[in-house]
Symmetry: C2
Subunit: 430 residues, 2 copies
Amino acid sequence: MSEALKVAVAGLGTVGVGTVELLRAQAALIEARCGRPIVVTDVSARDRDRDRGVDLSTVRWHDDAVAMARDAEVDVVVELIGGAEGTAKAVCETAVRSGKHLVTANKALLARHGFALAQAAETAGVTLSYEAAVAGGIPVIKALREGLAGNVVNRVYGILNGTCNYVLTTMRETGRDFDDVLLEAQALGYAESDPSFDIDGVDAAHKLAILTSVAFGTRVALDAVHVEGIRHVSALDIQFARELGYRIKLLGIARRTHVGIEQRVHPCMVPLDTPIAQVEGVTNAVVAEGDFVGSTVFEGPGAGAGPTASAVASDLIDLARGARIPAFSVACDALQELTPSPMSAHSGAYYLRLMVIDRPGVFAAGASALGEEHVSIESVLQRGRDPDEVVPVVMVTHETEEQAMIRAMERIAEHPAVIEPPRLIRIEAL
Amino acid sequence: MSEALKVAVAGLGTVGVGTVELLRAQAALIEARCGRPIVVTDVSARDRDRDRGVDLSTVRWHDDAVAMARDAEVDVVVELIGGAEGTAKAVCETAVRSGKHLVTANKALLARHGFALAQAAETAGVTLSYEAAVAGGIPVIKALREGLAGNVVNRVYGILNGTCNYVLTTMRETGRDFDDVLLEAQALGYAESDPSFDIDGVDAAHKLAILTSVAFGTRVALDAVHVEGIRHVSALDIQFARELGYRIKLLGIARRTHVGIEQRVHPCMVPLDTPIAQVEGVTNAVVAEGDFVGSTVFEGPGAGAGPTASAVASDLIDLARGARIPAFSVACDALQELTPSPMSAHSGAYYLRLMVIDRPGVFAAGASALGEEHVSIESVLQRGRDPDEVVPVVMVTHETEEQAMIRAMERIAEHPAVIEPPRLIRIEAL
């Protein structure tokens, strides 16, 4: 029997404990699959005395995770602390610099420092793996880096945040409004007490920036991601989406345009008969479109101890089997600087909802503002008629330029009968 | 730059030509991803003079594929001839025996001889890869062998044959009957002139037997697969399925039972709100359920030159990168003999459709036959009432044993008012 792959785990939250549990529960299976055991020999966390429901008596405890990353006699450091800076970053950098392979689930860190970390790993001759950082238990990094590696990817997109998808799904199923459903999601543990990281699209943007790098062979470029969250999606919009044959999803989308690579996270109207429209609740999904393979869909649990531990374990199994794949699919010097394709260059169809005082001429004013910007209207929906009361009016456009749409919307917003900021949701052609 | 991975391609049908084209079109991309080029240096096919639309002037031509597998100075032989025996088998065996890695898309061969071939490869110290053999372009072998390798899989199932799914989808969308839609599928090239290989579930059984081996760590056991095709699915059944909230899909299902491993291919009623129910047309999908990860879904094109070439290329890229994964996830001596869980031990809910002459007492007779076998009825549907005419009657059962259901059905078939063989479709709890 070959020597064990020795692993140090930094961070013993639910994912860290789940990883230790998985590696123990599946020890025989993993040994059969790798031809050698994978053993956790060292751990580090903040509070040694906390009962984590897992026996740590046989592993070396380190109070200082960074010192562990430097000194522990292990082959791999698994970083499960989280956060783009501070201890997590120091652990990752130290592990790599000390000649240890690094497995991390830390999307915030990779989105900020992924390229530098990959360079450091390459220099040190070690491997950086992060299957758990994107879409939880779905092996989508592996799919892009290896399974679809014979393809030029033209677009990759997905539901990358389970909290947002849960909120949007529940809003649709119950007709309730955003704030109400968010409170429930917090009570159920699907959303953090400070939900902005999820709800405002930041988490999805981190994951998208990583996916983009792997899919397109470009350096991670988080700052080039256009980010909008789901706070402004109302029950009314969800109702209109249904009437129009769409579902509203928060998507992360990266695609090749004639300008460069477009990266955006925002609520989208997606046609009801597409696979992505059917992905509900906390489930994640990623669609990758390759030039030879066509469209492939990967769906599964995007978070939680079990799924995340499963992804971490797959990285460790790869290492134990001797696989050495470049972090972002190609060597660092082959990763190209990403040329951003800005939102101003975006074009697509739009859903525009106005809240207007129902009086003669209002609709014509909206339509003419669109017309003046050469935006052509595909359909109009109006919920009831109630003179001098506030009613919603929805206009769906044909494909048009984002710039023109924004200008038209600003013009419409100035009309005295338009009593709320107009709401715009992009319609995604999938 | 490292040395090129040299490849010989045996078989230049659409997939063989597609593979040659992909490797050429993506040469730069692949070299960046592997750190070395992948080059087709040798090919073999039946007719040298046929114009295949691809320039073969720079590769060595072999009239004898087996001789090529033995003599060509290559690292890998790609077998794309097809068929469980004959030349394809000889090419595979010869390649491996001659110390060359083997990549094949040949599901029939793997379903029959996969274990022996894996043993031969292991003995020779070479790798056997076959991503293209199951679910075309979807990297599902990689997902099971690597991405989900930290899990005990309890069930794996999927839509493994695009022809059947196309026929069933079209029947549902148009209300037309099986024979009619099959003719159309043949005209469109989605079904062979002899369609039985697809339509009778044989192709899906091959793929399922391979998936089972990878997922459960058992030796390929094709003979243990229970196989039924879709010939008996009628437009009427599809209509009733809709009323009951189901879609009819031909699924391949492998799962752990208290007896052993159950493997079956047959038409299933699947709940409309499951991901698999939404997979339409020629698309394939595989669902893998792991103990840590939960349920993951992989969906995409299951056939065609581009998707299949994409899968072949991913195997070659793995080889070029130095990955060496055991063919069925564990070394051959760790692969266990599969203990079949027979259909007689199966239990589930059933849809039973009778064509009866509408006269008093007929329904009671059916219900009492079920009752005598302790099969409890969940619901009954009857299309119209037309005394002394033939009408369909549908009974949906609660979960029951297959044995009891078969006995009840045989008893019902004997009733003089039942004028066609009763049709039974299993309802799958997903």
